[in-house]
């Protein structure tokens, strides 16, 4: 059983990026990219929370805001009860370092996120040097322990990133993130750049590590089949807003939001006999610079729309069993 203390709580997170145009003396703001627009969720300890959506929907921006790599425009992010922005704004180095230790990040592309001039030993030990939470004479023991944990050999320590395959590089990234014993690991599309036969290895490794250390994962992906495999709860994002949050099985078996339904139906199933009614969405995702006024999905929605959909942005409504949906047309169906 999982305990239900939230490790991470996000309340009404907003992140806008200004678009500026250079004037004669001053640059002026000509528009705003509404990357994330009022997102709220909480992640419990030991849970894997999935963030799903198509490119440009704001998944990565949400994660970067949680890490304070991009300062959020507004909203609150509570990590184990502490408000993150206030810590970073306070410039209290120790508190910031503590937060950085507790929240770690695995990036999408292991070819770009490892310094090519550092050996694996340097890469994995760098967080130990920065955080200094274990004495210097223990660093090498910790290094070998980590290598073993992620399924690498001791002799790999002296090698450079270019000598490894994509899957092995992602193992190095995971070892680096785990070096400081984080409570929350944000994994941003960790298997998207890997080959199919190697993806399973990394997904299984992530599950094993979670069982061993009770780490909480925030798993970001556009690939619903890996999400189904690894996540406990899933939030579906569309153009900067959540459209649906539910337990994984519930979401896949009983999707309620028309966008989730369309998304699930458009995944190609590796079975020639599979009979799926594919819901074709007309058009494409609107620009986040000028998002639709009401429901963001309204221009592509295939359900009976009413005037509410056009003018009012629907909020997330609890439909029971921890299943939340943001759809104005829902009560009528």
């Amino acid at each position: 059983m999982m305990s239900t203390t939230p490790v991470l709580e996000v309340r009404n997170l907003v992140k806008h990026f200004p678009i500026t145009s250079r004037g004669v003396l001053f640059s002026k703001e000509v528009g705003v990219v509404h990357a994330v627009d009022g997102v709220s969720f909480s992640v419990n300890k030991g849970e894997t929370f999935g963030l799903v959506g198509e490119s440009g929907c704001g998944k990565t921006t949400t994660a970067r805001s949680i890490m304070y790599l991009d300062a959020p425009t507004s909203g609150e992010i509570l990590f184990e009860g502490t408000e993150i922005s206030s810590v970073f704004k306070s410039k209290d180095k120790e508190a910031i370092l503590h937060l950085r230790q507790k929240i770690q990040y695995v990036f999408q592309n292991p070819y770009a996120s490892l310094d090519p001039r550092m050996t694996v030993a340097d890469i994995i030990m760098e967080p130990l040097v920065i955080h200094g939470h274990i004495p210097k004479d223990k660093w090498h023991d910790r290094l070998y322990e980590l290598l073993q944990l992620v399924g690498l050999e001791e002799y790999h320590a002296e090698r450079y990133p270019h000598e490894f395959s994509g899957g092995q590089r992602q193992r190095i990234c995971i070892a680096r993130a785990l070096a400081v014993e984080p409570d929350l690991l944000i994994a941003d599309e960790p298997v998207a750049s890997l080959d199919v036969s190697v993806r399973a290895q990394i997904l299984n490794l992530m599950r094993e590590l979670q069982q061993k250390f009770k780490i909480t994962y925030l798993y970001i992906s556009h690939d619903l089949s890996t999400v189904r495999h690894i996540c406990h709860r899933v939030a579906v994002m569309y153009l900067g807003k959540f459209v649906e949050i539910a337990e994984t099985d519930d979401l896949f078996e009983r999707p309620l939001h028309p966008y989730t339904q369309a998304l699930l139906s458009s995944i190609p199933i590796p079975d020639p006999d599979a009979k799926t009614k594919r819901i074709m969405l007309p058009g494409e995702v609107p620009s986040p610079i000028n998002p639709p006024l009401g429901c963001r999905f309204e221009p592509r929605c295939i359900f009976n729309k009413n005037h509410v959909c056009v003018h009012d942005a629907p909020g997330l409504v609890d439909v029971g069993g921890g299943h939340f949906v943001a759809c104005g047309g829902l009560p009528r169906r």
Binding site: D195, L203, P270
Partner: protein, 334 residues
């Protein structure tokens, strides 16, 4: 029975790099019949794209086609000179590249890129070519074709760019379309649109297609037959149903099991140990043997397995395929 449109026999394409000779395609054989869709499946580095590039002889340097035959309508394309190939590329055989953002020229309007292809192969005036281009845009279901055709590629979204690339590939009604991962760069909902479009167009125009992909889900819905490649060689070649329900090669089976299934939540995924081999010094014998759970010393490690017809129209390159348990991982689930 439809006749063979394209037959590749024992194709070898090597890349001569400083580090050594990369045997990217090492004895690939496949056939495509008229009006048929062949799915060419494999992971990165399996040689699927190089096979397609070899058909049109546009393999980038330092790649070289060393041997084999590529018979198109009975004529060996490898014996043709550059001038003759120019008449085939784009006219007889169309090509859609993986990333529409890089396969379109950013400094020309879409109209001029389409007109260029049409006028290169057909004897028409500029105005006629333009009218044809608008027709093609209607065919690939781009809204307001008369307006959109004057756009530059950057003004279109990814899905629209891929539609435009499809329009360009189809502009001279090719008999064979090579689609190299046409949906990999796109989002799932857009991927569904493009796959549907390709399926409809293929039926409407009656052309044959080679669909290159690493996604078993994509080929399951589109292909008539599938050829599975691994490390530059063919593992298995059979009808789509046979590949999914009666896979005989251990690699095909492992590939099917390693894909996380949407329908079923499994606790642990089957893992294929190790990684794809280095093609400068590929493993001896069967190239899959270091990762294969059924590999046997001697038979698998030393002898290169030949592609044999184990069942009617079902070709497998595995020395031990006859002895193995024949259950499909898909059947087990049900």
């Amino acid at each position: 029975m439809a006749k063979e449109l394209l037959e590749i026999e024992d194709l070898k394409t090597y890349f001569y790099t400083w580090a050594g000779v990369v045997k990217a395609v090492d004895g690939v054989s496949l056939t495509v019949k008229e009006g048929e869709t062949l799915g060419l499946v494999g992971e990165s580095g399996s040689g699927k794209s190089v096979t397609a590039l070899s058909i049109l002889q546009i393999v980038p340097r330092p790649g070289k086609i060393l041997g084999g035959k590529i018979l198109y309508n009975g004529e060996n394309l490898l014996e043709k000179d550059e001038n003759e190939m120019l008449k085939i590329r784009g006219k007889e055989i169309g090509y859609i590249f993986q990333d529409p953002a890089t396969s379109l020229n950013p400094v020309f309007t879409i109209a001029s890129q389409l007109v260029e292809v049409i006028r290169r192969h057909q004897n028409v005036t500029k105005e006629e070519a333009l009218a044809k281009a608008v027709e093609l845009f209607k065919l690939v279901e781009i809204p307001d074709p008369e307006v959109k055709i004057w756009n530059y590629p950057h003004q279109l979204s990814g899905g629209m760019k891929q539609r435009m690339a499809i329009a360009r590939a189809l502009s001279c009604q090719p008999n064979l379309l090579l689609a190299d991962e046409p949906t990999t760069a796109l989002d799932v909902t857009i991927q569904a649109q493009i796959l549907d479009l390709l399926k409809n167009l293929k039926q409407k125009l009656g052309m044959a297609m080679i669909l290159i992909t690493h996604d078993m889900g994509v080929v399951a819905g589109v292909a008539d037959r599938i050829t599975v490649l691994y490390a530059g060689r063919v593992c298995e070649s059979a009808s789509t149903r046979d590949i999914f329900y009666n896979p005989l090669h251990p690699y095909t089976r492992a590939l099917l099991e390693a894909v996380p299934s949407l329908a079923l939540k499994r606790d642990k995924l089957r893992v294929i140990p190790g990684a794809i081999p280095n093609l400068i010094e590929p493993p001896t014998g069967c190239r899959f043997h270091p990762r294969c759970e059924y590999a046997k010393g001697g038979v698998c490690t030393l002898e290169v397995p030949s592609l044999e017809e184990l069942e009617p129209n079902h070709y497998v390159a595995c020395a031990r395929a006859r002895e193995l348990d024949k259950r499909s991982p898909l059947r087990n689930e049900r």
